[in-house]
Protein backbone atom coordinates (compact mmCIF):
# COMPACT_ATOMS: atom_id res chain seq x y z
CA UNK A 1 0.00 0.00 0.00
CA UNK A 2 2.72 2.42 1.03
CA UNK A 3 4.88 1.45 -1.87
CA UNK A 4 1.98 1.99 -4.25
CA UNK A 5 1.40 5.46 -2.88
CA UNK A 6 5.06 6.32 -3.27
CA UNK A 7 4.96 5.25 -6.89
CA UNK A 8 1.85 7.30 -7.44
CA UNK A 9 3.56 10.32 -5.92
CA UNK A 10 6.57 9.88 -8.13
CA UNK A 11 4.33 9.79 -11.16
CA UNK A 12 2.49 12.86 -9.96
CA UNK A 13 5.72 14.87 -9.82
CA UNK A 14 6.72 13.76 -13.31
CA UNK A 15 3.24 14.53 -14.58
CA UNK A 16 3.31 18.09 -13.18
CA UNK A 17 6.77 18.69 -14.59
CA UNK A 18 5.57 17.65 -18.04
CA UNK A 19 2.57 19.97 -17.74
CA UNK A 20 4.77 22.92 -16.78
CA UNK A 21 7.11 22.29 -19.71
CA UNK A 22 4.18 22.05 -22.12
CA UNK A 23 2.57 25.24 -20.78
CA UNK A 24 5.89 27.11 -21.03
CA UNK A 25 6.44 25.90 -24.57
CA UNK A 26 2.91 26.85 -25.63
CA UNK A 27 3.08 30.33 -24.14
CA UNK A 28 6.48 31.07 -25.69
CA UNK A 29 5.30 29.92 -29.10
CA UNK A 30 2.11 31.99 -28.83
CA UNK A 31 3.99 35.15 -27.81
CA UNK A 32 6.89 34.47 -30.21
CA UNK A 33 9.30 34.68 -27.31
CA UNK A 34 12.47 32.73 -27.84
CA UNK A 35 14.31 32.05 -24.63
CA UNK A 36 17.67 31.37 -26.32
CA UNK A 37 17.46 34.49 -28.47
CA UNK A 38 16.53 36.48 -25.39
CA UNK A 39 19.51 35.17 -23.47
CA UNK A 40 21.83 35.95 -26.35
CA UNK A 41 20.87 39.64 -26.35
CA UNK A 42 21.90 40.09 -22.69
CA UNK A 43 25.65 40.62 -23.32
CA UNK A 44 24.86 43.16 -26.00
CA UNK A 45 22.44 44.98 -23.70
CA UNK A 46 25.00 45.14 -20.92
CA UNK A 47 27.59 46.38 -23.37
CA UNK A 48 25.19 49.12 -24.51
CA UNK A 49 24.51 50.15 -20.89
CA UNK A 50 28.20 50.49 -20.17
CA UNK A 51 28.93 52.50 -23.29
CA UNK A 52 25.92 54.82 -23.14
CA UNK A 53 24.85 55.14 -19.52
CA UNK A 54 27.92 57.01 -18.45
CA UNK A 55 27.95 59.94 -16.12
CA UNK A 56 29.98 62.60 -17.89
CA UNK A 57 31.17 66.08 -16.98
CA UNK A 58 28.30 67.56 -19.02
CA UNK A 59 25.65 65.63 -17.16
CA UNK A 60 27.09 66.60 -13.77
CA UNK A 61 26.24 70.17 -14.68
CA UNK A 62 22.56 69.19 -14.53
CA UNK A 63 22.97 68.09 -10.91
CA UNK A 64 21.33 71.09 -9.18
CA UNK A 65 18.27 70.71 -11.39
CA UNK A 66 18.12 66.98 -10.72
CA UNK A 67 18.46 67.47 -6.98
CA UNK A 68 15.68 70.03 -6.98
CA UNK A 69 13.33 67.64 -8.78
CA UNK A 70 14.43 64.78 -6.55
CA UNK A 71 13.66 66.85 -3.49
CA UNK A 72 10.27 67.70 -4.91
CA UNK A 73 9.53 64.02 -5.46
CA UNK A 74 10.70 63.01 -1.99
CA UNK A 75 8.66 65.71 -0.27
CA UNK A 76 5.61 64.88 -2.33
CA UNK A 77 5.90 61.24 -1.26
CA UNK A 78 6.29 62.20 2.38
CA UNK A 79 3.35 64.61 2.21
CA UNK A 80 1.14 62.07 0.45
CA UNK A 81 2.06 59.36 2.97
CA UNK A 82 1.60 61.42 6.12
CA UNK A 83 -1.70 62.87 4.97
CA UNK A 84 -2.85 59.40 3.95
CA UNK A 85 -1.77 58.13 7.39
CA UNK A 86 -4.10 60.60 9.13
CA UNK A 87 -7.04 59.53 6.97
CA UNK A 88 -6.11 55.86 7.37
CA UNK A 89 -6.03 56.17 11.15
CA UNK A 90 -9.66 57.26 11.19
CA UNK A 91 -10.69 54.62 8.68
CA UNK A 92 -8.80 51.95 10.61
CA UNK A 93 -10.42 52.90 13.92
CA UNK A 94 -13.81 52.65 12.23
CA UNK A 95 -12.91 49.42 10.47
CA UNK A 96 -11.25 47.54 13.31
CA UNK A 97 -13.30 44.96 15.16
CA UNK A 98 -12.28 46.31 18.55
CA UNK A 99 -12.81 50.04 18.05
CA UNK A 100 -15.59 50.19 15.46
CA UNK A 101 -18.50 52.48 16.20
CA UNK A 102 -20.97 50.31 14.34
CA UNK A 103 -21.13 47.65 11.65
CA UNK A 104 -22.17 50.07 8.91
CA UNK A 105 -19.12 52.34 9.20
CA UNK A 106 -16.86 49.34 9.62
CA UNK A 107 -17.99 47.87 6.30
CA UNK A 108 -17.66 51.24 4.57
CA UNK A 109 -14.12 51.77 5.91
CA UNK A 110 -13.04 48.30 4.85
CA UNK A 111 -14.62 48.80 1.43
CA UNK A 112 -12.80 52.11 0.85
CA UNK A 113 -9.56 50.46 1.91
CA UNK A 114 -9.82 47.46 -0.37
CA UNK A 115 -11.13 49.51 -3.29
CA UNK A 116 -8.24 51.96 -3.25
CA UNK A 117 -5.72 49.22 -2.50
CA UNK A 118 -6.69 46.85 -5.27
CA UNK A 119 -6.27 49.39 -8.04
CA UNK A 120 -2.51 49.77 -8.60
CA UNK A 121 -0.90 53.17 -8.24
CA UNK A 122 -0.13 53.27 -11.98
CA UNK A 123 -3.80 52.81 -12.80
CA UNK A 124 -4.74 55.51 -10.28
CA UNK A 125 -2.35 58.00 -11.84
CA UNK A 126 -3.70 57.30 -15.32
CA UNK A 127 -7.31 57.65 -14.13
CA UNK A 128 -6.54 60.86 -12.23
CA UNK A 129 -4.49 62.18 -15.16
CA UNK A 130 -7.64 62.31 -17.24
CA UNK A 131 -9.61 64.23 -14.62
CA UNK A 132 -6.94 66.46 -13.07
CA UNK A 133 -4.57 66.96 -15.98
CA UNK A 134 -0.80 66.95 -15.98
CA UNK A 135 0.30 68.54 -12.71
CA UNK A 136 1.85 67.62 -9.42
CA UNK A 137 -1.59 67.41 -7.78
CA UNK A 138 -2.35 64.35 -9.90
CA UNK A 139 0.79 62.54 -8.78
CA UNK A 140 0.13 63.51 -5.21
CA UNK A 141 -3.44 62.22 -5.33
CA UNK A 142 -2.44 58.96 -7.00
CA UNK A 143 0.06 58.23 -4.25
CA UNK A 144 -2.37 59.41 -1.59
CA UNK A 145 -5.23 57.17 -2.70
CA UNK A 146 -3.10 54.05 -3.04
CA UNK A 147 -1.44 54.74 0.32
CA UNK A 148 -4.77 55.18 2.11
CA UNK A 149 -5.79 51.75 0.88
CA UNK A 150 -2.65 50.07 2.06
CA UNK A 151 -2.22 51.89 5.36
CA UNK A 152 -5.84 51.43 6.40
CA UNK A 153 -5.44 47.70 5.98
CA UNK A 154 -2.16 47.68 7.92
CA UNK A 155 -3.51 49.93 10.69
CA UNK A 156 -6.63 47.78 11.13
CA UNK A 157 -4.34 44.85 11.80
CA UNK A 158 -2.21 46.85 14.26
CA UNK A 159 -5.29 47.99 16.16
CA UNK A 160 -6.73 44.47 16.22
CA UNK A 161 -3.45 43.14 17.57
CA UNK A 162 -3.31 45.66 20.41
CA UNK A 163 -3.86 44.13 23.81
CA UNK A 164 -7.58 44.02 24.57
CA UNK A 165 -7.14 43.70 28.31
CA UNK A 166 -6.30 47.36 28.89
CA UNK A 167 -9.35 48.32 26.84
CA UNK A 168 -11.43 46.22 29.22
CA UNK A 169 -9.78 47.85 32.23
CA UNK A 170 -10.39 51.38 30.99
CA UNK A 171 -14.00 50.57 30.14
CA UNK A 172 -14.40 49.37 33.72
CA UNK A 173 -13.15 52.71 35.09
CA UNK A 174 -15.91 54.55 33.23
CA UNK A 175 -13.68 55.91 30.46
CA UNK A 176 -15.36 57.07 27.25
CA UNK A 177 -14.74 55.68 23.77
CA UNK A 178 -12.29 58.46 22.90
CA UNK A 179 -10.43 58.06 26.17
CA UNK A 180 -9.93 54.38 25.45
CA UNK A 181 -8.88 54.92 21.84
CA UNK A 182 -6.44 57.72 22.64
CA UNK A 183 -4.93 56.30 25.83
CA UNK A 184 -5.07 52.53 25.45
CA UNK A 185 -5.39 51.57 21.78
CA UNK A 186 -3.19 54.16 20.05
CA UNK A 187 -0.24 54.04 22.49
CA UNK A 188 -0.08 50.30 21.96
CA UNK A 189 -0.31 50.27 18.19
CA UNK A 190 1.66 53.47 17.52
CA UNK A 191 5.12 51.91 17.04
CA UNK A 192 3.73 49.47 14.51
CA UNK A 193 1.82 52.23 12.75
CA UNK A 194 4.94 54.41 12.52
CA UNK A 195 6.81 51.48 11.10
CA UNK A 196 4.17 51.07 8.40
CA UNK A 197 4.26 54.79 7.63
CA UNK A 198 8.05 54.64 7.16
CA UNK A 199 7.69 51.62 4.92
CA UNK A 200 5.07 53.47 2.87
CA UNK A 201 7.31 56.55 2.52
CA UNK A 202 10.05 54.33 1.10
CA UNK A 203 7.66 52.62 -1.27
CA UNK A 204 6.13 55.90 -2.35
CA UNK A 205 9.49 57.45 -3.21
CA UNK A 206 10.07 54.50 -5.51
CA UNK A 207 6.63 54.67 -7.10
CA UNK A 208 6.73 58.48 -7.25
CA UNK A 209 9.35 58.14 -9.98
CA UNK A 210 7.02 55.98 -12.03
CA UNK A 211 4.01 58.16 -11.27
CA UNK A 212 6.14 61.17 -12.28
CA UNK A 213 6.81 59.63 -15.69
CA UNK A 214 3.07 59.17 -16.19
CA UNK A 215 1.84 62.47 -14.79
CA UNK A 216 4.79 64.60 -15.87
CA UNK A 217 6.01 65.72 -12.47
CA UNK A 218 9.13 65.50 -10.33
CA UNK A 219 12.17 63.39 -11.07
CA UNK A 220 10.14 60.97 -13.16
CA UNK A 221 9.32 63.71 -15.63
CA UNK A 222 12.98 64.67 -15.91
CA UNK A 223 13.93 61.05 -16.49
CA UNK A 224 11.31 60.75 -19.20
CA UNK A 225 12.42 64.01 -20.83
CA UNK A 226 16.11 63.15 -21.15
CA UNK A 227 15.30 59.56 -22.04
CA UNK A 228 13.20 60.67 -24.98
CA UNK A 229 15.93 63.14 -26.01
CA UNK A 230 18.34 60.21 -25.96
CA UNK A 231 20.59 62.10 -23.56
CA UNK A 232 21.57 58.90 -21.83
CA UNK A 233 24.34 60.46 -19.76
CA UNK A 234 21.85 62.54 -17.83
CA UNK A 235 19.49 59.56 -17.61
CA UNK A 236 22.30 57.63 -15.97
CA UNK A 237 22.90 60.40 -13.47
CA UNK A 238 19.19 60.62 -12.64
CA UNK A 239 18.97 56.86 -12.13
CA UNK A 240 22.05 56.97 -9.95
CA UNK A 241 20.68 59.75 -7.73
CA UNK A 242 17.36 57.94 -7.37
CA UNK A 243 19.12 54.76 -6.29
CA UNK A 244 21.24 56.67 -3.78
CA UNK A 245 18.19 58.53 -2.42
CA UNK A 246 16.21 55.32 -1.99
CA UNK A 247 19.09 53.61 -0.20
CA UNK A 248 19.65 56.60 2.11
CA UNK A 249 15.98 56.77 3.00
CA UNK A 250 15.81 53.06 3.65
CA UNK A 251 18.81 53.28 5.98
CA UNK A 252 17.29 56.28 7.74
CA UNK A 253 13.95 54.62 8.29
CA UNK A 254 15.65 51.49 9.59
CA UNK A 255 17.43 53.67 12.15
CA UNK A 256 14.18 55.37 13.15
CA UNK A 257 12.44 52.02 13.39
CA UNK A 258 15.12 50.73 15.76
CA UNK A 259 14.63 53.74 18.02
CA UNK A 260 10.83 53.55 18.23
CA UNK A 261 10.37 49.79 18.54
Amino acid sequence: MNEKRMHAKKWQTTFFLIIIIVVTYLSTSITNFNLIDGMLTIPAAIGWMFSNLLITQDSIAKMPQILEKLGETIFMSIAATTLAAVVSLFLALMGSKTTKVNQFFSVIARFIASFSRNIPVVAWSLILLISFGQNSMTGFLALFVATVGFLTRAFIESVDEANQSSVEALTATGATYFHIVSKAVIPQSLPQMLSWILFMIETNIRSATLVGILTGTGIGYMFDLYYKNMNYNVVALITFTIVIAVIVIELLSNKIRKVIL
Binding site: N163, S165, S166, E168, A169, L170, T171, A172, T173, G174, A175, T176, F178, H179, S182, K183, A184, P187, Q188, L190, P191
Partner: protein, 275 residues
Protein backbone atom coordinates in the same frame (compact mmCIF):
# COMPACT_ATOMS: atom_id res chain seq x y z
CA UNK B 1 -0.37 45.21 59.79
CA UNK B 2 2.59 46.39 57.88
CA UNK B 3 0.89 48.12 54.97
CA UNK B 4 -1.40 50.56 56.66
CA UNK B 5 -2.88 53.31 54.55
CA UNK B 6 -2.54 56.08 57.11
CA UNK B 7 -4.62 59.16 56.86
CA UNK B 8 -6.77 57.48 54.32
CA UNK B 9 -9.90 59.37 55.29
CA UNK B 10 -8.33 62.71 54.61
CA UNK B 11 -7.53 61.73 51.04
CA UNK B 12 -10.88 60.14 50.42
CA UNK B 13 -13.37 62.72 51.60
CA UNK B 14 -16.20 60.65 50.15
CA UNK B 15 -15.54 57.77 52.47
CA UNK B 16 -16.39 58.61 56.02
CA UNK B 17 -15.42 56.75 59.09
CA UNK B 18 -17.92 54.28 60.40
CA UNK B 19 -19.84 53.83 57.19
CA UNK B 20 -23.25 52.48 57.99
CA UNK B 21 -23.36 48.76 57.43
CA UNK B 22 -26.32 48.81 55.07
CA UNK B 23 -26.03 46.64 52.01
CA UNK B 24 -24.11 48.30 49.22
CA UNK B 25 -24.73 45.65 46.64
CA UNK B 26 -27.76 43.47 46.20
CA UNK B 27 -27.82 40.69 43.63
CA UNK B 28 -31.26 39.18 43.07
CA UNK B 29 -31.89 36.03 41.08
CA UNK B 30 -29.16 36.97 38.65
CA UNK B 31 -28.80 34.75 35.62
CA UNK B 32 -26.61 35.00 32.56
CA UNK B 33 -26.88 33.20 29.26
CA UNK B 34 -24.24 33.30 26.56
CA UNK B 35 -25.51 32.95 22.98
CA UNK B 36 -28.99 32.46 24.38
CA UNK B 37 -28.31 28.90 25.49
CA UNK B 38 -25.19 28.40 27.62
CA UNK B 39 -26.31 29.14 31.16
CA UNK B 40 -23.36 30.53 33.10
CA UNK B 41 -25.21 31.90 36.11
CA UNK B 42 -28.44 30.51 37.57
CA UNK B 43 -30.52 32.49 40.06
CA UNK B 44 -27.58 33.91 41.96
CA UNK B 45 -28.65 36.00 44.96
CA UNK B 46 -26.52 37.62 47.63
CA UNK B 47 -25.89 40.89 49.38
CA UNK B 48 -22.65 42.67 50.17
CA UNK B 49 -22.29 45.23 52.93
CA UNK B 50 -20.09 48.28 52.95
CA UNK B 51 -16.56 47.44 54.03
CA UNK B 52 -17.08 43.72 53.67
CA UNK B 53 -14.34 41.47 52.30
CA UNK B 54 -16.10 38.84 50.26
CA UNK B 55 -14.49 36.02 48.39
CA UNK B 56 -16.03 34.02 45.57
CA UNK B 57 -14.52 30.57 45.14
CA UNK B 58 -15.25 27.77 42.73
CA UNK B 59 -13.69 25.71 39.96
CA UNK B 60 -12.81 27.17 36.57
CA UNK B 61 -15.89 27.77 34.48
CA UNK B 62 -18.15 28.09 37.51
CA UNK B 63 -19.09 31.62 36.44
CA UNK B 64 -16.98 33.64 38.89
CA UNK B 65 -15.66 36.10 36.31
CA UNK B 66 -19.06 36.48 34.72
CA UNK B 67 -20.60 37.21 38.11
CA UNK B 68 -18.12 40.05 38.73
CA UNK B 69 -18.61 41.48 35.26
CA UNK B 70 -22.38 41.50 35.69
CA UNK B 71 -21.96 43.79 38.70
CA UNK B 72 -20.36 46.61 36.70
CA UNK B 73 -22.15 45.45 33.55
CA UNK B 74 -19.06 44.63 31.55
CA UNK B 75 -21.32 41.81 30.39
CA UNK B 76 -25.04 42.33 29.92
CA UNK B 77 -27.38 40.83 32.50
CA UNK B 78 -29.79 38.21 31.11
CA UNK B 79 -32.17 37.88 34.04
CA UNK B 80 -32.65 39.07 37.60
CA UNK B 81 -31.35 42.26 39.11
CA UNK B 82 -28.17 43.81 40.36
CA UNK B 83 -28.71 46.77 42.68
CA UNK B 84 -25.80 49.01 43.55
CA UNK B 85 -26.60 51.58 46.24
CA UNK B 86 -30.26 50.78 45.63
CA UNK B 87 -30.16 51.56 41.91
CA UNK B 88 -30.84 48.88 39.30
CA UNK B 89 -27.66 48.37 37.28
CA UNK B 90 -29.38 46.50 34.45
CA UNK B 91 -31.68 49.43 33.64
CA UNK B 92 -28.94 52.07 33.58
CA UNK B 93 -28.41 54.24 30.53
CA UNK B 94 -24.97 55.02 29.14
CA UNK B 95 -24.34 58.06 31.32
CA UNK B 96 -25.54 56.44 34.53
CA UNK B 97 -23.50 53.35 33.71
CA UNK B 98 -20.38 55.49 33.40
CA UNK B 99 -21.10 57.00 36.79
CA UNK B 100 -21.62 53.54 38.25
CA UNK B 101 -18.29 52.37 36.91
CA UNK B 102 -16.45 55.26 38.51
CA UNK B 103 -17.79 53.95 41.82
CA UNK B 104 -16.58 50.42 41.16
CA UNK B 105 -12.87 49.68 40.81
CA UNK B 106 -11.70 46.55 39.06
CA UNK B 107 -8.52 44.51 39.43
CA UNK B 108 -7.61 41.81 36.95
CA UNK B 109 -5.57 38.62 36.86
CA UNK B 110 -3.33 39.98 34.11
CA UNK B 111 -3.29 43.51 35.61
CA UNK B 112 -4.63 44.93 32.30
CA UNK B 113 -2.34 47.94 32.30
CA UNK B 114 -1.28 49.72 29.12
CA UNK B 115 2.20 48.17 28.91
CA UNK B 116 3.89 50.91 26.89
CA UNK B 117 2.84 53.74 29.19
CA UNK B 118 4.41 54.77 32.48
CA UNK B 119 3.18 53.71 35.89
CA UNK B 120 1.89 57.18 36.78
CA UNK B 121 -0.01 57.44 33.49
CA UNK B 122 -1.64 54.10 34.15
CA UNK B 123 -2.66 55.14 37.65
CA UNK B 124 -4.20 58.38 36.35
CA UNK B 125 -6.27 56.36 33.88
CA UNK B 126 -8.46 55.60 36.88
CA UNK B 127 -9.69 59.21 36.78
CA UNK B 128 -11.16 58.98 33.27
CA UNK B 129 -14.59 58.28 34.68
CA UNK B 130 -14.65 61.83 36.06
CA UNK B 131 -13.27 63.49 32.92
CA UNK B 132 -14.92 64.95 29.87
CA UNK B 133 -13.80 63.46 26.57
CA UNK B 134 -11.55 66.42 25.75
CA UNK B 135 -9.93 66.57 29.20
CA UNK B 136 -9.21 62.85 29.03
CA UNK B 137 -7.83 62.83 25.49
CA UNK B 138 -5.54 65.77 26.25
CA UNK B 139 -4.55 64.17 29.55
CA UNK B 140 -5.51 67.18 31.67
CA UNK B 141 -5.26 66.05 35.27
CA UNK B 142 -5.38 68.44 38.21
CA UNK B 143 -2.46 68.87 40.60
CA UNK B 144 -4.61 67.29 43.28
CA UNK B 145 -5.13 64.18 41.20
CA UNK B 146 -1.44 63.88 40.43
CA UNK B 147 -0.54 64.27 44.09
CA UNK B 148 -3.06 61.64 45.01
CA UNK B 149 -1.62 59.29 42.41
CA UNK B 150 1.85 59.71 43.91
CA UNK B 151 0.46 59.32 47.41
CA UNK B 152 -1.13 56.00 46.46
CA UNK B 153 2.03 54.78 44.72
CA UNK B 154 3.96 55.63 47.85
CA UNK B 155 1.49 53.79 50.06
CA UNK B 156 1.81 50.71 47.88
CA UNK B 157 5.58 51.01 47.90
CA UNK B 158 6.19 51.57 44.21
CA UNK B 159 6.68 55.34 44.03
CA UNK B 160 10.27 54.91 42.82
CA UNK B 161 8.91 53.23 39.68
CA UNK B 162 6.47 56.05 38.88
CA UNK B 163 8.17 57.03 35.63
CA UNK B 164 9.05 53.53 34.48
CA UNK B 165 7.18 51.83 31.73
CA UNK B 166 4.75 49.23 33.08
CA UNK B 167 6.21 46.39 31.04
CA UNK B 168 9.47 46.77 32.97
CA UNK B 169 7.80 45.93 36.28
CA UNK B 170 7.38 42.53 37.90
CA UNK B 171 3.97 40.92 38.15
CA UNK B 172 3.49 41.89 41.78
CA UNK B 173 4.46 45.49 41.10
CA UNK B 174 2.11 45.64 38.11
CA UNK B 175 -0.73 44.39 40.23
CA UNK B 176 0.01 47.15 42.75
CA UNK B 177 -0.26 49.66 39.92
CA UNK B 178 -3.61 48.06 39.14
CA UNK B 179 -4.70 48.57 42.76
CA UNK B 180 -3.61 52.24 42.62
CA UNK B 181 -5.62 52.70 39.43
CA UNK B 182 -8.68 51.25 41.17
CA UNK B 183 -8.17 53.31 44.36
CA UNK B 184 -7.77 56.64 42.60
CA UNK B 185 -11.32 56.18 41.32
CA UNK B 186 -12.45 56.66 44.92
CA UNK B 187 -14.64 53.59 44.60
CA UNK B 188 -17.15 52.18 47.03
CA UNK B 189 -16.61 48.69 45.72
CA UNK B 190 -13.59 46.92 44.25
CA UNK B 191 -14.02 43.82 42.13
CA UNK B 192 -10.96 41.60 41.95
CA UNK B 193 -10.88 38.92 39.28
CA UNK B 194 -8.28 36.35 40.32
CA UNK B 195 -5.85 39.04 41.52
CA UNK B 196 -3.13 36.61 42.57
CA UNK B 197 -3.54 33.81 40.03
CA UNK B 198 -0.40 34.79 38.10
CA UNK B 199 1.74 35.76 41.08
CA UNK B 200 4.27 33.92 43.22
CA UNK B 201 3.39 33.19 46.88
CA UNK B 202 5.27 36.21 48.28
CA UNK B 203 3.73 38.74 45.91
CA UNK B 204 0.37 37.06 46.44
CA UNK B 205 0.59 37.66 50.16
CA UNK B 206 1.53 41.31 49.66
CA UNK B 207 -1.38 41.88 47.28
CA UNK B 208 -3.90 40.11 49.52
CA UNK B 209 -2.68 42.10 52.55
CA UNK B 210 -3.21 45.34 50.64
CA UNK B 211 -6.70 44.30 49.56
CA UNK B 212 -7.58 43.41 53.15
CA UNK B 213 -6.28 46.78 54.34
CA UNK B 214 -8.37 48.55 51.73
CA UNK B 215 -11.55 46.95 53.02
CA UNK B 216 -10.83 47.38 56.72
CA UNK B 217 -9.21 50.81 56.71
CA UNK B 218 -10.98 52.55 53.88
CA UNK B 219 -14.30 50.79 54.24
CA UNK B 220 -14.31 49.81 50.58
CA UNK B 221 -16.17 46.61 49.85
CA UNK B 222 -14.00 44.01 48.13
CA UNK B 223 -15.34 41.11 46.14
CA UNK B 224 -12.43 38.83 45.28
CA UNK B 225 -12.57 35.85 42.95
CA UNK B 226 -10.10 33.25 44.10
CA UNK B 227 -8.89 29.85 43.10
CA UNK B 228 -7.11 29.16 46.36
CA UNK B 229 -9.50 28.10 49.10
CA UNK B 230 -6.88 28.51 51.82
CA UNK B 231 -6.26 32.13 50.84
CA UNK B 232 -9.97 32.82 50.80
CA UNK B 233 -10.39 31.30 54.25
CA UNK B 234 -7.51 33.35 55.62
CA UNK B 235 -8.58 36.75 54.30
CA UNK B 236 -12.28 36.83 53.59
CA UNK B 237 -15.00 37.72 56.08
CA UNK B 238 -17.44 35.76 54.02
CA UNK B 239 -17.15 33.19 51.27
CA UNK B 240 -19.49 32.43 48.41
CA UNK B 241 -19.01 29.06 46.76
CA UNK B 242 -20.03 28.91 43.14
CA UNK B 243 -20.53 25.68 41.26
CA UNK B 244 -21.86 25.44 37.71
CA UNK B 245 -23.36 28.91 37.99
CA UNK B 246 -25.15 28.34 41.27
CA UNK B 247 -24.37 29.41 44.80
CA UNK B 248 -23.72 26.26 46.82
CA UNK B 249 -22.22 27.95 49.86
CA UNK B 250 -22.67 31.38 51.40
CA UNK B 251 -21.43 32.04 54.87
CA UNK B 252 -18.60 33.18 57.13
CA UNK B 253 -15.26 31.74 56.12
CA UNK B 254 -14.94 30.05 59.52
CA UNK B 255 -17.77 27.67 58.79
CA UNK B 256 -16.49 26.53 55.40
CA UNK B 257 -15.50 22.97 56.12
CA UNK B 258 -13.81 20.31 54.15
CA UNK B 259 -16.95 18.55 52.99
CA UNK B 260 -18.33 21.81 51.63
CA UNK B 261 -15.10 22.50 49.78
CA UNK B 262 -15.34 19.04 48.32
CA UNK B 263 -18.87 19.76 47.26
CA UNK B 264 -17.85 23.01 45.54
CA UNK B 265 -14.87 21.60 43.72
CA UNK B 266 -16.03 18.03 43.24
CA UNK B 267 -14.56 15.12 45.12
CA UNK B 268 -11.79 14.42 42.59
CA UNK B 269 -9.88 17.61 43.22
CA UNK B 270 -9.58 16.95 46.94
CA UNK B 271 -5.90 15.99 46.87
CA UNK B 272 -4.91 19.06 44.90
CA UNK B 273 -6.66 21.49 47.20
CA UNK B 274 -5.20 20.18 50.41
CA UNK B 275 -1.62 20.16 49.14
Amino acid sequence: MEYVLVNAYSIFPIIQKGVCSMSLLKVEELSKLYDGETRVLKNVSFEANAGEFLSVIGPSGAGKSTLLRCINRMVEISGGKVKFDGIDVGAMKKKELRKLRTNIGMIFQHYNLVPRLTVIENVLHGRFGYKSTLQGVLGRFTEEEKERAFFLLQKLGISEHAYKRCDQLSGGQQQRVGICRALIQEPKLILCDEPIASLDPNSSKVIMDYLKTISTELGITCIVNLHQVEVAKEYADRIIGLKEGEIVFDGPSKVLYRDQIEHIYGIESRELITV
